[in-house]
């Protein structure tokens, strides 16, 4: 079924009887060419591009719960491609370009809103670093603009420029950055994949890999064995748990990242703003809630919830730059499990086991990567070669000393 305004009108006039399920609920087949483990954003996007871009006819997505129930349904919805390093920036720019055509591509309004993202600058050293980054972005074909405090103030008049402990000395803007209605991304990819023949199998937990003579033949699941020519894992915070079933130890830790939403408010923040002297970033959703977040709690956790000190730290950051926020109320706080890698950058690579492929290590930045992650993983699964924008995301980069460390903090995941 194709969605459109006309269709909405037609259904409204005929009692909405014609709407059908957005995706089927099939039973698993005994064998697929490609099985994707993980019905989150990345897994669903991978399946979608496998079907659409790489003409794969036999693909299944296995999800242990309900699709979109992980980090794609639990994030702060920001998209951007303001990275510094060669290994990253082309990939994230590719992702941003995919976002720009996504809704028309998969016929679902995910409310991709390029309202701009702004990184505030608070010191001369930070300005130098942001200029270097902005240049790297432009040299990679992305957009970036260095803004003066006055330019920023014109757009955000309520910024604290009068009493700030760390005065605002400008900002780096990416106008093509913005936000996306996160749940709709999962649903749009699912619907698009399903309509192209992908089986999305919910409530199907993978309990083991079937590996014989160094080759992965399929997966054992709560719905029985499912054979696969290739198995792709895209389970984010659960990566270490899953890959341990293949006796792999990964270069990552799982950490909790909290995020927050305020009560609904009339429009007040036009774009995304990140504070450069504390842990805080914020945007306003179309519904009016201020969606904000900050640093990870900092300890290994699979609990999907955090603690007060970080809540306070984030709100302190908010009040430092937007003192009007004091009278807005925090409505809900939640936590997701982040697959924090050892250099803060992801992995999209084959494993040492034939037929077993891995996608993970997205840290707290996986949402914006969803389209490119899906596309590049699909490329790897379909062609056995990495996509040109994802060649650096290899397992062996740590052995070789080719880390992609944007923050320059080394092999301590909670600092990335």
């Amino acid at each position: 079924m194709r969605y459109s305004g006309l269709r909405v009108i037609k259904e409204a006039l005929t009692g909405h009887k014609g709407w059908t399920p957005a995706w089927r609920d099939p039973a698993p087949k005994p064998q697929y060419d490609i099985v994707i483990i993980g019905g989150g954003g990345h897994g669903l996007a991978t399946a979608y591009y496998l079907a659409k871009q790489f003409s794969q006819k036999s693909v299944a997505v296995l999800e242990k719960g309900w699709i979109g129930g992980g980090n794609v349904g639990r994030n702060t919805t920001i998209i951007r491609s303001n990275y510094l390093l060669d290994g990253n920036e082309p990939f994230y720019e590719f992702s941003l370009k995919l976002w720009e055509g996504l809704e028309q591509d998969f016929n679902y309004n995910a409310m991709v809103s390029q309202r701009g993202i702004l990184n505030l600058i608070h010191s001369d050293g930070q300005r130098d670093a942001f200029i270097r980054r902005g240049n790297a972005m432009i040299l990679n074909g992305a957009d970036a603009e260095l803004l003066s405090t006055a330019q920023i103030k014109a757009r955000y008049p309520f910024l604290n420029t009068h009493d700030a402990r760390f005065p605002i000395k400008g900002g780096l803007a990416q106008h093509r950055g913005g936000t996306v209605r996160h749940d709709a991304v999962a649903w749009g990819y699912a619907r698009g994949a399903d309509s192209r023949g992908v089986d999305i199998i919910q409530n199907c937990e993978v309990t083991d890999f079937r590996i014989e003579n160094g080759t992965c033949l399929g997966v054992e699941t709560t719905k029985g064995f499912i054979g696969a020519g290739k198995v792709g894992c895209a389970v984010a915070g659960s990566s270490s748990r899953l890959m341990a079933k293949a006796d792999m130890r990964l270069p990552m830790e799982s950490h909790v990242l909290q995020a927050f939403v305020s009560e609904g408010l009339k429009p007040v923040l036009p774009g995304v703003v990140t504070f450069g002297a504390g842990h805080f970033y914020v945007s306003q959703s179309d519904k009016g809630g201020l969606v904000f977040g900050g640093d990870i709690d900092g300890y290994n956790s699979y609990a999907q919830r955090g603690n007060l000190p970080v809540v306070e730290d984030v709100c302190e950051g908010g009040m430092a730059i937007f003192p009007m926020l004091g009278r807005a109320r925090l409505l809900r706080m939640w936590g997701g499990i982040m697959d924090m890698s050892m250099d803060g950058s992801p992995i999209i690579d084959k494993t040492h086991i034939d037929g077993l492929y891995f996608n993970g290590g997205w840290c707290y930045g996986g949402f914006k990567a969803t389209p490119a992650s899906g596309y590049c993983f699909a490329h790897l699964l379909a062609t056995d070669t990495p996509h040109q924008t994802a060649t650096a995301y290899r397992f062996d980069r740590f052995e070789k000393g080719l880390m992609i460390d944007e923050k320059g903090v080394g092999n301590q995941p909670n600092l990335h």
């Binding site: 969605y3 305004g5 269709r7 009108i9 909405h16 709407w19 059908t20 719960g65 309900w66 979109g68 720009e100 809704e103 028309q104 409310m111 991709v112 390029q114 010191s123 050293g125 130098d128 942001f130 200029i131 270097r132 240049n135 040299l139 990679n140 074909g141 604290n160 009493d163 760390f166 209605r181 305020s262 009560e263 609904g264 408010l265 009339k266 007040v268 179309d286 519904k287 009016g288 609990a303 306070e312 709100c315 302190e316 908010g318 009040m319 430092a320 009007m324 926020l325 004091g326 009278r327 807005a328 109320r329 809900r332 939640w334 980069r397 070789k400 000393g401 320059g408 903090v409 080394g410």
Partner: protein
């Protein structure tokens, strides 16, 4: 200003009248009123507009679960959007406005959405607004955004202050209803440290809203008497107006105390609110229960309210929602409302009970087996349509309808650590499950115990169990009626029957969601937005779950609930921030010379939490560059002085101190002689450069290590890790002495002459050569440390005295140095001189660079183990074309070489693929008369003399540069040794 619906009784102080205004009209109420009760007493039912359809709405409840009666409270910078009128304590001069309307509350232009509701069903926006792509940001989204949202922020700084605080207790009791009071009494009398917190301004919970007796007095009186006794116990802390917002790990609770919200504005110096972090050994949740509505067509009109809320308004506040009231119920509690209202003189138009065996009442009609199927009235309820047991329809006139669908225990805090509630058929509701937060127990209605006597018993028993007390105290006799309920969630055949009144989610939306495959509870919530409003679904979620269950052919517990998340009620962001805003965001660290520098008119800059002098403007200087150039030139010509206290200082002592530093630094320290200083580079274990500095050996077993300002803390932590976790048997003691010593760099050809006037010992070149260090005295005997080290490249020293003498020392240096024209210099001049000398700082040691990148590859000793040595040898960190630190100067001396610019070959494309490196630090060199820079260049060591292009498309720069040695000044180091 007549309070036409004010009725007798209640716990309000009728002797005093409070004036307030709503939407510009003035009204009167009394102390003890909430804004909602006062509005109702004044005959105002219409209080707000819904989120999506802009339907007229009034108060549904009398508590914090309120979805509808949201107002903008106060004005100006104190404007507070989305404030529940049902919890706002009335004060004199209160100002409130309705919100989410275009036009007036009565004539909201966006009410057109209600007419279009058939098009605006759940998820409609996912299916349209996609073409053309650019129209989303330009057209659709702005329109949607403007219509959405609720109240407005003022855009002005919040003028109030917020405190944070920390409390410890043996037992935290959450909720001061009958269960909580009984628990507090039991625990308090036993001498335990008790905190009793309740979100209401008046403790007592439902006892304040009911008419039955507790013992020999009214429930409200018993509550008041109990609170009075508790207040007399020094071990009990009563916290009214305090919401426990979340249950965090290991018995940590967040509590929000509204200290001043019931006042016109906070008293001077007093906080508006306090966020308490409460450390409770045990907690007893006595949070009560929330009544739930029943869904039927147009069940959202102002006047349609929860039954028990009507009772609360009548009994506690002496306010009737209307003089004619009907009741719609599926349980006995609805009849209690009817009885109480009837006793207060309110006319009961009818009690509509779905149960065929509903109890009858002699004074008003009870319609057994009947259902309310629709309502009428434009901006408030006028009539209800009732389908009677025999199928006939009947119209009943009423201005208020009390709906009672049963009660949901407030299990929220039991689920904050991902515990799941379990279903209890007897009360047709979820009750707390097994998996409670550690240390928490539940009592009273929150645990599904719905009688008052049961609540008292379970509260007392909860305290006994929590504290391991011997016996339960005697409890008064009181109401003990059994729960009698027939589950009934919605009227069959209804369509526009509201579940989530704030977000405008109807029964029809839930059905559509199911039809489209959104069948898990989380999908339903996200697709329809059910339960995502500011009440987090307190009155709506159960109805949605029940309908889902029915559609899926499952039971409600099989469907399950969505996840309960903190905070229990929305909490001001300001409270979470506390005092940490504005200048108080982070503490400020001042250097020992700060006061003196202020007197000199220095311009300061934030360096981490430190404030450092950036430069010292002199009369006539109109641009910072003039000041900085002067400071640099004067230092290189004669002598300058700079406060370098901010650099981290760590005293490393013990018999194994040298061995320890040999491990910490990649270069050797074992053989450093006493009285000597050595430059050291430390790596992280991953082989990347971590920090650099000097280590001075003051004695065989005593080194003083310096770190960069930014890394003082991480380096200290790292050293403790290496000591305690890797080499625990080394005899090493680490003490941070950063703040113990005031340290000044005295640099320039005349620095020795100046210091000779201050230092008591011989510091001639022979006695105190380059890289010497010593404990000395100054000014006739003050203990001090002297290091002959140089960041500037000049003959230079760093001199340190105990911090309390730092102010005196800088003044003495300035006085004694006057004959040499001693010049104070700030961080900018410091930076210029170190770039001229080619010294790396944080711009170069940026966490991704190696010793080799920095041109110090040979420093990494292969003869010994040191942290990072092994991994620094990986192939990717040792490529022939690695980045190397180089000097950069413009081909045209008039051009700048800005930091952050990228290096490109002289010919060829300008893009990321052809990137050759980047500029890390740049400045104007007054000594050389042109701009200079440091940067990293691929294979830079072999490209000295090459001409490249420097590009910064971000700032519109493209210029030709020449690669040179990074040592612009005195490359042989002759000045250092002079």
């Amino acid at each position: 200003m007549s309070q036409k619906n004010r009725i007798a009784g209640g716990q309000i102080d009728r002797a005093k009248t409070l004036k307030f205004s709503f939407d510009g009209r003035s009204y009167a109420g009394h102390p003890g009123d909430t804004l909602a009760s006062a509005l109702l007493a004044n005959g105002v039912r219409l209080m707000g507009r819904s989120f999506k359809y802009h339907r007229p709405r009034g108060a549904l409840s009398a508590g914090s679960e309120e979805p509808n009666a949201l107002v903008e409270l106060r004005g100006g910078a104190r404007q507070e959007p989305n404030t529940r009128a049902t919890t706002v304590e009335l004060f004199d001069g209160l100002l409130a406005k309705s919100q989410n309307r275009m036009g007036s509350l009565r004539f909201d232009l966006l009410a057109i959405n209600d007419r279009l509701s058939n098009f605006l069903t759940a998820g409609f926006y996912y299916k349209t607004f996609m073409w053309p792509a650019a129209f989303w940001e330009k057209l659709y989204e702005p329109v949607i955004r403007k219509a959405a949202g609720l109240g407005s922020l003022s855009g002005k700084d919040d003028p109030d202050v917020y405190d944070k605080g920390f409390l410890h207790c043996d037992l935290l009791i959450i909720g001061a209803g009958p269960a909580g009071l009984a628990a507090a009494l039991t625990a308090g009398r036993a001498g335990a440290d008790v905190i009793l917190a309740d979100e209401d301004f008046s403790m007592g919970g439902r006892l304040n809203s009911e008419t039955f007796a507790v013992g020999d007095r009214s429930g409200a009186d018993w509550a008041a008497q109990t609170v009075a006794e508790l207040a007399s116990l020094s071990n009990v802390r009563l916290m009214p107006r305090t919401t426990i917002i979340g249950a965090f790990d290991h018995g940590t609770y967040g509590g929000l105390e509204r200290v001043s919200d019931h006042l016109h504005s906070p008293d001077a110096g007093k906080p508006r609110q306090i966020l308490w972090r409460i450390y409770a050994k045990r907690a007893l949740l006595c949070a009560g229960a929330t009544e739930r509505p029943i869904a039927f067509d147009n069940n959202d009109r102002p006047g349609v309210m929860l039954g028990a809320a009507l009772r609360t308004y009548a009994n506690r506040f002496g306010a009737a929602a209307d003089r004619r009231v009907a009741i719609f119920t599926n349980n006995d509690d609805g009849h209690r409302t009817a009885r109480d209202l009837h006793a207060k003189g309110v006319r009961i138009s009818a009690v509509v009970d779905v149960r065929p065996d509903a109890p009858l009442h002699p004074d008003y009609q009870v319609l057994r087996g009947a259902q309310v199927v629709d309502t009428r009235g434009r901006l408030g309820l006028s009539f209800i349509d009732v389908r009677q047991a025999d199928g006939t329809m009947r119209v009943v006139e009423c201005g208020a309808l009390g709906v009672s669908g049963g009660w949901n225990p407030n299990v929220h805090l039991t689920c904050h650590q991902r515990g799941l509630p379990v279903w209890d058929d007897a009360i047709a509701a979820f009750v707390p499950g097994e998996n409670l937060p550690v240390g928490m127990a539940v009592a009273g209605a929150a645990n599904g115990v719905f009688t008052t006597a049961g609540a008292l018993r379970s509260g007392a028993a909860g305290a006994v169990a929590a504290l391991d007390l011997g016996q339960t105290p005697d409890l008064p006799q009181t109401e003990d009626a059994p729960v009698n309920i027939t589950p009934f969630w919605y009227v069959k055949g209804c369509a526009r029957a509201w579940l989530d009144q704030q977000n405008d989610v109807t029964v029809k939306d839930v059905k559509l969601s199911h039809q489209e495959g959104f069948r898990s509870v989380e999908h339903l919530k996200r697709y329809t937005t059910l339960g995502m409003a500011t009440d987090q679904g307190k009155t709506s979620n159960m109805g949605g779950l029940a309908i889902m269950a029915e559609l899926a052919g499952k039971t409600i517990p099989q469907v399950g609930t969505t996840i309960f998340r903190p905070p229990y009620t929305p909490t001001a962001i300001g409270a979470f921030a506390g005092r940490h805003r504005g200048q108080g965001f982070h503490p400020t660290r001042l250097t020992p010379s700060h006061k003196w520098a202020q007197e000199q008119g220095a311009v300061f800059v934030e360096v981490g939490n430190w404030m450092r002098a950036q430069w010292f403007p002199q009369p006539g200087e109109t641009h910072w560059r003039q000041s900085v150039d002067r400071e640099v030139l004067a230092t290189r010509k004669s002598v300058g002085v700079c406060d370098v206290t901010t650099l981290g200082k760590i005293d490393v002592q013990g018999t194994d101190a040298a061995a320890f530093l040999n491990t910490i630094y990649c270069n050797g320290f074992a053989k450093l002689a006493v009285g000597k200083v050595r430059y050291g580079l430390m790596l992280r274990e991953d082989g990347i450069a971590m920090d650099d500095g000097t280590a001075a050996r003051l004695a065989e077993d005593h080194f003083v290590v310096t770190t960069t300002t930014a890394n003082a803390l991480p380096v200290y932590r790292h050293m403790e890790f290496v000591h305690q976790c890797l080499f625990p048997d080394l005899d090493v003691q680490l003490i941070s002495t950063t703040e113990a010593w005031a340290q000044y760099a005295v640099a320039g050809p005349n620095s020795r002459k100046l210091l000779e006037k201050i230092v008591d010992q011989d510091i001639s070149n022979a006695a105190f050569p380059f890289m010497a260090c010593a404990n000395i005295t100054v000014c006739g005997g003050l203990r001090a440390r002297l290091f002959r080290i140089s960041f500037s490249g000049e003959l230079a020293y760093e001199i340190a005295v105990p911090t309390m003498y730092g102010d005196a020392l800088i003044r003495r240096i300035m006085a004694e140095g006057a004959e040499f024209g001693v010049t104070p210099y700030g961080t900018e001049a410091l930076g210029v001189m170190r770039i001229e000398k080619g010294h790396a700082t944080g711009n170069e040691i940026n966490g991704t660079t190696t010793a080799q990148n920095l041109g110090m590859g040979r420093m990494v000793s292969t003869k010994k183990d040191s942290i990072g040595a092994v991994l620094s040898r990986r192939e990717g960190l040792n490529r022939a074309d690695d980045l190397r630190q180089v000097g950069i100067k413009p081909v045209d001396p008039a051009e700048k070489v800005p930091a952050g610019a990228h290096l490109m070959n002289a010919q060829g494309p300008v893009d990321a693929v052809h990137d050759q490196g980047y500029v890390t630090s740049a400045c104007y060199s007054p000594n050389l008369g042109h701009h200079i820079a440091l940067g990293f260049l691929k294979n830079g060591g072999n490209r000295i003399g090459e001409e490249l292009r420097l590009v910064s498309p971000l700032t519109g720069v493209e210029t030709r540069v020449e690669i040179v040695s990074p040592h612009f000044i005195d490359p042989e180091g002759e000045r250092l040794r002079a």
